[in-house]
Symmetry: C2
Subunit: 296 residues, 2 copies
């Protein structure tokens, strides 16, 4: 079984009837499984996470695009989260028996579909056509409001679709990326600066691990602080190494770890190296997990 | 999806043509997945591990029984492993969305099938009808050679089938049990007595954990000793607790753990508590593992 995941973000986070309609369109696609649909009214944005065979996933995300392009008008869109289009960002994530190349084929096919609908498309991360478009933040810089001028700049000619501002739909970033793991570690401390200090220690930006993004967060209700992280490549920067670095950095201030959590889904593969490290089971393979035999 | 596992042991470990025929019969059963088929000529015994929907698993194990009853003659069977029948022991293991009661229904149905073929059947472990038949070793005590006398004893009247010795097929133990995990921990030592001392510390027999069977083993080629274990209920005696007890007991002799291994399949559920413990991820659930969404 091939499994591709897709996590599109659209610029509508308030109209729940509309959002549910999109969720239903995804769910109604044969052999596509909708894992999450979450909306934020402050961000005025919704995220849908779903997976299935590559062809079916492509079919589902086209349905989402049709509805979003028809129903969302970016003119006057306000929200706290950076955005540049009705269909704002569409990452495809190869999960199981899908190569990056296969995911790229789906991403390009979707990009061409959006382009044919008059939406300028930029490919990012592993789908980027030039190095300067790899980073999503760089692609989205200036957001929707900058698009009109940006599209006149030959350096920002879209990868698909017209080099012409589409006021209603804006533009879309379409990418292929590794599965991301949201992992938070709670510290027995109320000192936010401590959490930030440790976050800086593990994150790429400040000299930490290459595939870690991290910030310190106050958990006021729990009376704790947290190192909140995105692990963007669990194969190259494994979870246990980040965990143990946080443990050792916290210990130098006499602070212990109170707990940890994964936010959202975790690929089974990410547990392989955890088991290998903590049980010293050097040859452990997720293929030994009985359930993998049921997946094919 | 309901998933029942079955791990029948038959008293033939040399005739590979015959053994392969049985494996093929299991594999050819619709929606049944054969995970392992291993034979030991010294034991003169083969083990088949397969899984699927309960009805299909029942169908597959009936095929195995037909072939084994027809092709194996227990008269004159010799092997190092305790045995009492052509179809020697048949445990059913509820893995996923299958209750113990559902597994019991399948086990009873299979027991009646064997009984109708003239094979005396004893139910053991969770299928036992009386406490004295819970333990497989007690049921099989005296082995094949004791059956003729045993069947005349009203206390050993079979749970299914005739109370009459069947020289060709012997008798069969049919049970329902929790998934067993074979887990070994290697110690940086050549001292077998040390491994045995630690094995005694963790195993039920000598005051250790209730669901641990353990022995010390010499790994001559590696120049190490091993605590070799069966964990018979990973929910009640979790893997990490056994691991950490071995670590602390070894440490008192200045010995460290060199590595560990799972032999054979591991249920996904068994990884849940591992992740919770080692990452202090108290609320982690295997439902967060993306692949579980593909299983239903």
């Amino acid at each position: 079984m091939k499994v591709l995941m897709c996590v599109p973000n659209i610029s509508e986070g308030k109209n729940l009837v509309f959002i549910n309609k999109i969720a239903a369109a995804i769910s109604s696609t044969e052999k596509v499984k909708l894992l999450e649909a979450s909306s934020d009214s402050d961000h005025h944005r919704s995220v849908f996470g779903f997976l299935g065979e590559p062809d079916q996933v492509l079919e589902a995300v086209k349905k989402l695009a049709d509805l979003a392009i028809e129903g969302i008008d970016m003119t006057g869109h306000r929200g706290d989260h950076p955005r540049m289009g009705a269909v704002d960002v569409v990452p495809f994530i190869p999960l199981r028996n899908v190569t990056t190349d296969e995911a790229l084929t789906v991403a390009r096919s979707f990009g061409e579909y959006l382009g044919s609908k008059g939406v300028p498309v930029y490919y990012y991360e592993d789908a980027a056509t030039v190095e300067g478009r790899r980073n999503l933040a760089a692609v989205r810089k200036g957001q929707y409001e900058a698009l009109q001028a940006k599209l006149k700049d030959p350096a920002w000619a879209p990868d698909s679709g017209p080099a012409q501002f589409n006021p209603k739909a804006g533009a879309t970033a379409v990418g292929v990326r590794f599965p991301l793991i949201a992992f938070n570690v709670n510290l027995n401390s109320k000192d936010l600066e401590l959490a930030n200090k440790i976050a800086r220690g593990v994150r790429h930006l400040n000299g930490g691990y290459r595939y870690v993004r991290a910030i310190g967060v106050n958990l006021t209700e729990l009376g704790l602080v947290q190192v909140s992280m995105n692990l963007t490549n669990y194969l190259k920067t494994p979870i246990h190494r980040v965990m143990e670095t946080i443990r050792s950095e916290a210990a130098r201030y006499g602070i212990s770890i109170a707990g940890a959590e994964f936010v959202g889904p975790v690929p089974l593969n990410a547990l392989e190296e955890l088991v290998r490290f903590y049980l010293q089971a050097h040859d452990f393979s997720v293929n030994q997990v009985i359930e993998t035999n049921l997946l094919e």
